[in-house]
Symmetry: C2
Subunit: 393 residues, 2 copies
């Protein structure tokens, strides 16, 4: 079976707001091989990943991503890894390639799973899809009062865990942040699992992060996520020596297996957060999960987009019984909801699982997607390299 | 003075060959602020960097690069760093952004230097532009005989150093590579500085690299470059323990200061090779040079394109007297030669220096560029986000 077509669909809300909400646009990927179809999603910046799929070759190690995918045989998991290795070699100098490959890799796993009528997590070697404790992932409110209300709403919805991030956090005074942290804890109640996401706001400033540790410990935050940019290993490590019960979390910025390993080996992480839509797909995310298990670090998915992306991000650690926390976006824009016919929802115990259904177990809703489809075109010389493809086929 | 315009010009040879020659296309950058102009260059994949300059915003941490540059004040080196920090924060989730920023940062340094009538290396704090020993950077021949001839030609041209890389090296047997290595040494003569570039061919395979060490030592190679992909820190480190007098070189794949620091701190590098057109520009390249000095590692430029890019890559270590080896492409395609009115050439002693002239000291040749200018257009919805700009203004 050979890969006949790769189609990238750029979806967007009518208006994109200048807020930390990654569900405002999406890059949906469809891969076709014979009669078989698979779906995936790339995180983020759709136009740039489209350009890297179709761009002209610069030289032998800077080819468009599609050059290493179209026409390839796809019959097994080994083929998916082989195709990824090809992309990494042939697009070595094309920085965006890892993000572009991610959506294709996800679609290839979906395609294989549908073809063999097995969930992706089974193809990955797991015997079961374990229950995960979803955390409601929301932005800090503009004021502590709004954060309090958000936390109360999350608690009343039955979530046992919540993550607050971005918004004003880290941008103002330490006292401002302390008020936000106490509001989140108050709204969530004493037993809720409280996670804090600094969104790289302190870049590499250890002192700024350190100044928040006392209150983070007071409110029993389980983790502090991304105090620094991905790759600031020395800074992560230094902070980890002082953070005590507040574990450091990070890794969403990693776009290959090496970067994630460095965060684990040299950054003092307690939680490694991987976005399958960025790191090179489910294949590489699973490599990181295996490595994390081996190193005693907890694997967590990073997801801020659709339920297709959520299922993809759950697969790599679906069978890890002790890695229970999972990111679960709860403030999705209508686009991210409309994209799929079915959704992953908490069960009676408030827990979620990667679907027990072929592939990713998520069905794209073509009619739901249509209103959000962006019409785009890229022309180089007399050649149209990209034009928004037709959804139905 | 505010930045009024950023223009990206995509240049390409009529035909792009599937070989490891990075001079086959280029992305020339022009930044205008009032009456002042500066020129830079991004490495590589022009169309993708263009897309990341102009793409629609995805969310608050995924904005097009131009959003953080246009309209900004540019009066000092501190402004260049501030603008770079803005891009890194506002385009955090846009993977290609570091490459895109690189050309803009270079152009801003050129602009400041022209305005203040100072070479960039002076603005960077160096008192002099030291002589560097250029190595002729060429591809291995298809056979040892062709490699021998290339090496003899380089020797007869007066070069004291030569680097051979890519081509068949590492793809065949150990014996094949041994023959190539002996041919290079023979052609170069016993005193020439011989550098070998494996071009990441062994990915993370330590055994494959180890199998070449004996002959690399026999032919007195000064360095072995990129036996593995950038970021394979554990593999670099393991090989460095066995490579003895053959120093490991790498770093061209780094696209931020952290990755370069990791290569130095954890990879056992003896030479760190930085492309100012990829790592985030001259600003970040200079940060790496400072760090390398501090850690006792030798800084080397990585350059495989025009003399504009060469000058940009020389500036960050121009004043470092003990860091003498410099990459000097000698098989440039006509495009890369035609791009500039003046060129950096070896002096009577066979050495080169960053120009002692305002800015980068390299004048783009608009008439020379014109035949290579690629006509491109990117449209999203009803908006044309990019159309090849006019060269003359």
């Amino acid at each position: 079976m050979r890969i006949d077509a790769i189609d990238f669909f750029y979806l967007a809300m009518p208006e994109i707001l200048d807020i930390g909400d990654g569900s405002q646009d999406a890059l949906l990927v469809r891969v076709c091989a014979g009669d078989h179809v698979g779906w995936g999603e790339c995180e983020a910046a759709p136009l740039v990943s489209i350009a890297s799929l179709v761009c002209p070759m610069s030289h032998s190690a800077c080819k468009p991503v599609q050059a290493s995918v179209l026409g390839q045989t796809i019959d097994s998991a080994a083929d998916i890894r082989r195709i990824g290795d090809l992309v990494r070699a042939n697009s070595l100098d094309l920085l965006q390639a890892d993000h572009t490959l991610s959506g294709i890799d996800i679609a290839l796993w979906d395609l294989l799973g549908r073809r063999f009528e097995e969930p992706v997590w089974k193809l990955l070697g797991y015997g079961q899809s374990c229950a995960k404790t979803p955390y409601a992932s929301v932005l800090f409110g503009g004021t502590p009062e709004i954060t309090l209300q958000k936390a109360q709403r999350i608690q009343s919805q039955g979530f046992r865990a919540a993550k607050f991030g971005w918004g004003p956090f880290g941008l103002g005074s330490v006292a401002d942040d302390d008020a936000q942290l106490h509001a989140a804890r108050e709204g969530l109640g004493p037993d809720g699992i409280l996670l804090i996401d600094a969104g790289t706001v302190w870049n590499t400033d250890i002192a700024a992060a350190r100044a928040r540790l006392r209150t983070l410990k007071e409110v029993s935050a389980t983790w502090l996520e991304e105090p620094f940019v991905s790759g600031a290993l020395a800074e992560y490590h230094a902070l980890s020596l002082e953070s005590g019960p507040v574990g450091l979390a990070g890794g969403e910025g990693c776009h290959n297996v090496h970067m994630a390993k460095h965060m684990i080996d040299h950054g003092g992480l307690k939680y490694v957060q991987i976005d399958a839509g960025r790191i090179g797909g489910i294949t590489i995310a699973k490599d990181v999960a295996d490595y994390a298990v081996n190193k005693g670090v907890t694997y967590v998915n990073h997801t801020f987009t659709s339920n297709l992306a959520l299922s993809a991000s759950l697969q790599p650690f679906a069978g890890l019984e002790l890695h229970v926390i999972c990111e679960f976006p709860t403030e999705l824009k209508s686009l991210a909801v409309a994209m799929t016919k079915n959704h992953i929802t908490p069960d009676a115990n408030g827990q979620v699982r990667a679907p027990d259904a072929p592939g990713l177990g998520i069905e794209p809703d073509l009619a739901g997607i249509e209103p959000y489809l962006v019409d785009a075109e890229i022309r180089v010389g007399s050649q149209v390299l990209y034009r928004t493809p037709v959804l139905s086929r």
